[in-house]
């Protein structure tokens, strides 16, 4: 297979029919809330598009994002996307290792300078001059800097790359930072989630291939088509929330009847993602459907927001000790003020 031929040629070689291809384009256009005509335009543009070189850099990560993409049911749009790009560097999926793998990355960067897509998963360790996380003796910071120079666009895959994620959780011993904090001169699109939904990654790449631009982003750099609404807004348990029916424990009457998990710490109301509509495992379900509240994994610092099982409206205000001290101070000042007033009254009475 010609590694950098057109997408249409690659699909043909893979035996993917035009019908399947059109279905894929229609599904993606629909998911991204594009007008119906966009599906045809997408199919036309994609068929003719040159397969772009893609370099996938793994930094401080758990490989969950790659697992998410590759372990999705087959055949899927996610598999098809691999026919639309030329994945020139991906440590986990590579057969090559060591110097050979690094040489492939350097060659792809050189041959496609200014044109390749850079995908990053994992946060970047900046502590100790980047020494916490190195690949082939090169620190993540240095590798990102070099790779970003020739990238047409950068996609931060997963919450670690997008917002720092778990490595950045307090006390952040490695100085973990998100990609966008280090790359300022290139467009960075955040596809957050721990892991992100595979079709969201696909959607972003197809949008880029079709229109040559990045999709519309929210204030956190995420594509609005997938991160425009909260989990809560589209949750099938929402009517129970509105009716005031809540599960109190994970095995009570409410939980068995599918009532809202708000009281059990669900972060759906403040989490923007498409889990409730796109779902996981080939559209089987999503965490709330499986009986567990949303963790808010597609939001910045989700690990440090006071606990997964603590209900959303509860405060994170530091406990009773400070309030006890404030109370003691209030009593002392109040007593002192009253004593002063009594003294003044006594002085006035004496004068009389």
């Amino acid at each position: 297979m010609d590694l950098h031929g057109t997408v249409g040629e690659a699909l043909k070689q893979q035996g993917i029919s035009r019908r399947a291809f059109l279905k894929f384009c229609t599904a993606l256009a629909s998911m991204m809330a594009l007008p119906p005509q966009a599906a045809a335009a997408m199919a036309q543009a994609l068929a003719k598009a040159r397969r772009p070189s893609v370099i996938w850099l793994p930094f401080q990560e758990c490989t969950g994002c790659t697992e998410s993409l590759t372990r999705s049911n087959s055949p899927t749009v996610e598999n098809m996307i691999f026919n639309m790009i030329s994945l020139d560097y991906h440590e986990t999926l590579f057969a090559a290792a060591g110097d050979a793998a690094e040489a492939a990355r350097e060659k792809a960067m050189k041959d496609n300078f200014g044109k390749y897509l850079l995908l990053v998963d994992g946060s970047v360790a900046t502590g100790l001059d980047g020494a916490y996380s190195c690949i082939g003796g090169v620190s993540n910071v240095q590798m990102l800097e070099e790779a970003a120079k020739g990238a047409a666009a950068i996609v931060a895959i997963g919450t670690c790359a997008a917002f720092g994620g778990l490595p950045k959780a307090s006390p952040n011993p490695t100085g973990a930072a998100p990609v966008a904090a280090l790359v300022r001169d290139k467009p960075v699109i955040n596809v957050s989630g721990c892991p992100p939904i595979p079709v969201v990654i696909t959607g972003v790449l197809v949008h880029y291939l079709t229109f040559g631009s990045l999709p519309e982003l929210d204030e956190l750099g995420r594509p609005k088509a997938f991160y425009g609404e909260t989990i809560h807004d589209r949750c099938y348990r929402r009517p129970f929330y509105d009716q005031g029916k809540f599960a109190k424990t994970f095995d009570d009457h409410g939980a068995r009847n599918g009532w809202c998990l708000y009281e059990l710490g669900c972060k759906g109301p403040v989490t923007y993602n498409a889990c409730a509509t796109l779902k996981w495992n080939g559209g089987t379900s999503f965490p709330i459907e499986s009986g567990h509240g949303c963790l808010g994994c597609s939001e910045p610092d989700f690990w440090d927001k006071g606990g997964f099982y603590k209900a959303l409206p509860t405060g994170n205000w530091g406990g009773g000790k400070t309030l006890a001290a404030a109370a003691a101070a209030g009593v002392a000042i109040g007593a002192a003020a009253a004593a002063l007033a009594r003294k003044r009254q006594a002085d006035i009475a004496k004068e009389k």
Partner: protein, 228 residues
């Protein structure tokens, strides 16, 4: 740190510190004041009977009942509405339950086996709307009435603002109107914190002193032989 984490975290902590400190300062400062000696012959030695005033003042005196009926009714509507919204909406209960945990050494519901009832969000929204309408009507009346306008100061208007703001922002958050939900929720929590910070230093302190003042006044009236 995002706005919601700030509102739920340090802002809430400082607001609670100011609230607890301020309320105790003012209460202790007032309660420990020396009372003036009353040298007159008491008309009635059983002055504790004056405590009846605490209950009697729930209704206006007959002479003023008709003239002030609307003001009284609206006052009741917004007070009751405010407490229904505060005490019968599940997110608020979860917040309060968590807040009082250190005081009771655990979750009160789990410790006692009792549960506090709550109503659906729709009912709370309607109650909130009626409460805000009553508050707006009272503000309009305050401004329109020459006498009330004359005796109103910054404290009255600011206390009105910090009371109304949590209701309005809470309703906006519930309805997801005007901004992303977490922004609305943050603004709602911050508005509650503004209320907490202002509370000890303005007329809202009447919440703690009203029944004590009624009792003391009633006992004084009883001693002097004045009609309650």
């Amino acid at each position: 740190m995002d706005l919601l984490s700030f509102a739920r975290g340090p802002a809430l902590q400082y607001a609670l510190i100011v609230f607890v400190f301020g309320v105790l300062w003012r209460l202790i400062g007032v309660f420990l004041l020396a009372t003036k000696p009353d040298y007159s012959e008491p008309r009635n030695r059983a002055s504790w009977k004056g405590l009846r005033l605490i209950a009697l003042r729930f209704w206006p005196r007959r002479e003023f009942a008709a003239r002030n009926a609307a003001t009284h009714a609206l006052g009741y509507v917004f007070h009751v509405g405010f407490f229904v919204v505060l005490l019968f909406y599940l997110p608020h209960l979860l917040f309060l339950e968590d807040l009082f945990k250190p005081l009771f050494g655990g979750n009160l519901v789990q410790l006692t086996g009792m549960s506090w009832p709550y109503v659906s969000g729709g009912v709370i929204m309607m109650t909130g709307a009626v409460t805000v309408a009553a508050l707006v009507a009272l503000l309009v009346h305050r401004i329109a009435s020459p006498v009330k306008r004359l005796i109103s100061n910054f404290d009255d208007y600011f206390s009105w603002l910090v009371t109304t703001a949590p209701l309005v922002t809470g309703m906006l958050a519930f309805a997801h109107l005007g901004a992303p939900y977490q922004t609305l929720l943050s603004v709602h929590i911050l508005s509650v914190e503004l209320l907490l910070v202002w509370f000890p230093f303005g007329k809202l302190m009447h919440s703690f002193t009203i029944f004590v003042v009624r009792g003391v006044t009633g006992m004084s009236f009883e001693r002097k032989g004045a009609a309650l």
